[in-house]
């Protein structure tokens, strides 16, 4: 399952105590956290807008999106810039761990996680004896639910 990822490099990052990954071809750049202007009445997971060298980019707070207990932005907090359609979208993560090849077994997302509210944001799980990394499905992540 999801063998495609096995041949790719990944960016591993942390949100709360968990580790997540996106493939390097999905991540355009990694930017320092900068001032975010909130957008009234925008979906809750959208932190706001930033000015990234002259273009305006929406920024999603991955903690809020994944329902991870909120921690405050720390020294290592960064914005991953991800291409999404014609736009770029920023993703706030607590820390970037490494940029690496996939040396792990690629496993499907466990059924109980896949069935949860955030299950559709996950593509697969990379596992070794010491650690577990969840691979993000960025298309689902950035597809916002219609607001009631």
């Amino acid at each position: 399952m999801d063998q495609k990822i096995a041949s790719k490099d990944i960016v591993v990052f942390c949100v709360g105590d968990e580790k997540f990954a996106l493939t390097t071809d999905e991540v355009k750049s990694i930017e320092e956290l900068q001032e975010i202007v909130p957008v009234p009445r925008a979906p809750e997971c959208i932190a706001g807008l930033v000015n990234l060298r002259g273009s305006i980019m929406a920024v999603m707070d991955l903690r809020r999106r994944l329902g991870v207990t909120e921690t405050h932005a720390g020294r290592d907090t960064v914005i991953l810039v991800i291409e999404h359609g014609d736009d770029s979208v920023g993703l706030i993560v607590d820390r970037v761990e490494s940029v690496d090849q996939v040396p792990f077994d690629v496993k499907p997302v466990p059924p109980q996680v896949a069935a949860s509210a955030v299950g559709r944001f996950y593509r697969s799980v990379l596992e070794t004896t010491e650690q577990k990394i969840t691979v993000i499905n960025k298309d689902n992540l950035f597809t916002l639910e219609e607001r009631p």
Binding site: R41, I46, L49, G54, I56, H84
Partner: protein
């Protein structure tokens, strides 16, 4: 070979050729005897073939090659420009469009289009066999214009110029043949122009030649020796040079045709290609300059230094001109999008068995490139709607006392700083009864409410999300994608949409869209520690609300303003942010929202400012409260309020 950097060039150039091919093919369909058009099409296909081969797109190159063969036979009158041939070339153009899109995405077209390509090749082969059978039984057609392609020579000629055919033979087995050829051509180009080469330049540059090639050279030099010197180098075995006289011109090309070629050549403007991202960067920088110009002006006004003020005025003037030029450099003619429409209408009409006379007006109107690009899709949708739901079948039309062929007209015109684009048809018009029934069926309203709606209001319903009147699902209009999508796309461009429909007489959809990316005058206001820009066009007045002027009407606060009572809100609360708990008093802005006045209490006025409007990014577009975003003087994103959606 790393071809990725050539890929973009291939995609953009092929797309230009595709637009050209579609236009020429439609014209050829109307006048099948027009040799000039056949030549034009042939050349486009030929160029595409060369480019495809040079970047290793073998499938595209092969199919193009077969299409070129077919066109060559038509050109030489060995085959007619009949419906079979035209359909085959149309099918080829569709294939090419699909293939180029795949290449643009970095995919190999082979994976998805192998079947299409095989079918096309078989089709071309069938036509070739038919032509061969025909020519075997008929008189051999006179070969037309085989030796020189004057259509490529004449546009380059000057009154005193001479045309030479230069045949170059390189020595055997030398490395880097294409580089030598390239250097020779460059050296020739210092003294004249190269009309074309045999084989084509792309083939030469890709080393697809043995060791000989021919250059057709137009020059003011009359001395053959001087030309030989230009190309001579140690690896050249032989140079043969001969002047081409006018008598060599193919007699079968009538002077009219040649006139047309000259015209085509003259129409081609002397343009350079600039990438859209570079234009965007320029635009961003000019936007920042405009903002800083204002800042400087304020600073110099406060300094009391007349010399500084003069300098700032001069800078302001130049910035203004620069802004104008940058905006102008982003303009392109509507033709870039409009020229695709005849094909769209033709195909849709054919698929539905309808007869349609289609007309485009105003293709020369210029509009900002990025706006025009985003306009294409909604317009195509409106056209398909007109063909599918608007125009009746020929029999229905005849029964209704109308001409069998329907009419669709797309018009673009300029109205102040906006473009008015209309799509008008003379079909059956919108079925207001069906729209009412659908509204009830969808639970949008009761039957009584629906019946009470005016026709105009009922028609407006079709622009609501998820509303579609298509009784059946057809290939042409698709399912569930209706006017609502068109409306929201147009709104995203800062435009408006209006529908005017008369039962039995037709329907006209009018779009009003800004012509260029706007720099607008705004009022900056703060509410709950955030700064927002309000377009001055939407602001009626700034006032100071006295607590005594506030009343309560049906449980909601109103402000006594002039001789009326208008709704009063805290801006912060309308925006759903905290704050604004205090008294409804203090500075406020009176705005007009959907025809009604209302007053918004704010924290502070921060003065006026010119800003460059940037579109909202898709992720936050759901929030209809904002028409766009800009960058503030502090370099932060700043939202632009759209008061039209505030009251809701």
């Amino acid at each position: 070979m790393d071809t990725s950097k050539y890929r973009d060039l291939f995609v953009s150039e092929t797309r230009e050729h595709l637009a050209n091919l579609n236009r020429s093919l439609l014209a050829l369909e109307k006048s099948p005897g027009d040799t000039a058009l056949v030549n034009e099409i042939f050349r486009s296909v030929h160029t595409v073939k060369g480019m495809a081969a040079s970047i290793g797109q073998d499938m595209i190159a092969e199919v193009s090659h077969r299409a070129e063969d077919l066109l060559d036979r038509v050109r030489k009158r060995q085959a007619p420009a009949g419906p079979d041939q035209l359909e085959a070339v149309f099918a080829f153009v569709d294939f090419l469009e699909g293939a180029v899109s795949l290449v643009a995405l970095g995919k190999a077209p082979e994976a998805e289009l192998a079947d299409v390509s095989r079918a096309l090749l078989a089709r071309f082969e069938g036509l070739a066999a038919a032509a061969a059978a025909q020519s075997a039984s008929a008189e051999p057609a006179p070969a037309a214009g085989a030796e020189y392609d004057f259509s490529r020579i004449i546009p380059l000629r000057q009154p005193d110029s001479v045309v030479f055919k230069i045949r170059i033979l390189l020595e055997k087995d030398i490395p880097l043949k294409s580089a030598r050829a390239f250097l020779m051509m460059r050296s020739l180009e210092t003294a004249g122009k190269i009309a074309y080469t045999v084989p084509e330049r792309f083939d030469i540059e890709a080393e697809r030649f043995d060791r000989g090639f021919t250059i057709i050279f137009v020059t003011g030099l009359r001395d053959e020796k001087a030309i030989v010197d230009l190309v001579a180098c140690s690896e050249v075995e032989d140079v043969e040079i001969r002047e081409i006289a006018d008598e060599d011109r193919d007699q079968s090309l009538e002077s009219k045709t040649i006139g047309a070629f000259v015209q085509i050549a003259q129409e081609r403007p002397k343009d350079v290609k600039v990438s859209l991202s570079r234009l965007d960067r320029l635009m961003n920088m000019v936007g920042e300059l405009v903002v800083w110009k204002e800042r400087l002006r304020q600073l110099s006004a406060g300094s009391g230094n007349p010399m500084l003020a003069d300098g700032v005025d001069e800078v302001a003037r130049i910035v203004g001109e620069l802004q104008h030029e940058v905006l102008a450099s982003r303009l392109v003619a509507m033709a870039e999008v409009f020229d695709r429409f005849p094909r769209v209408v033709r195909d849709a009409a054919k698929a539905l068995g309808k007869q349609i006379g289609f007309e485009v007006r105003g293709r020369e109107l210029e509009m900002d490139r990025s706006i025009l690009q985003q306009l294409a899709e909604p317009l195509v949708h409106l056209l398909r709607n007109a063909v599918d739901h608007g125009i009746e079948t020929p029999d229905e039309r005849e029964a209704a006392g109308k001409p069998r062929a329907g009419a669709i007209v797309v018009t673009a015109a300029k109205l102040k700083e906006q473009a008015l684009v209309t799509v008008a048809d003379d079909g059956r018009g919108m079925d207001v009864a069906a729209i009412r029934a659908k509204a009830v069926e969808k639970g949008l309203m009761t039957a009584e409410q629906a019946a009470a709606l005016g026709d105009g209001q009922a028609i407006e319903l079709t622009t609501r999300p998820g509303f579609s009147t298509a009784a059946r699902v057809t290939e042409v209009s698709g399912r569930g994608v209706g006017m609502d999508v068109v409306k929201s796309k147009i709104a995203a461009l800062g435009g408006q949409l209006a529908i005017d429909s008369a039962a039995g007489r037709g329907c006209t959809v009018t779009l009003t869209i800004p012509l260029s990316l706007s720099i607008i005058h705004t009022l900056l206001v703060s509410a709950d520690q955030m700064t927002y820009a309000m377009p001055l066009t939407q602001v009626k007045e700034t006032i100071n609300v006295q607590p005594g002027a506030v009343r309560t009407l049906q449980g909601a606060p109103v402000l006594l303003y002039r001789d009326r009572a208008i709704p009063l809100f805290h801006l912060a609360r309308v925006l759903g942010r905290g704050g604004g708990e205090g008294e409804l008093a203090g500075p406020a802005v009176v705005v007009e929202s959907q025809g009604a006045e209302l007053a918004l209490v704010i924290d502070r006025m921060l003065g006026q400012q010119e800003i460059v409007v940037k579109p909202m990014t898709a992720m936050v577009k759901q929030s209809k409260l904002f028409s766009g975003v800009t960058i503030s003087r502090e370099g932060k994103p700043m939202l632009i309020l759209d008061v039209n959606n505030l009251a809701a």
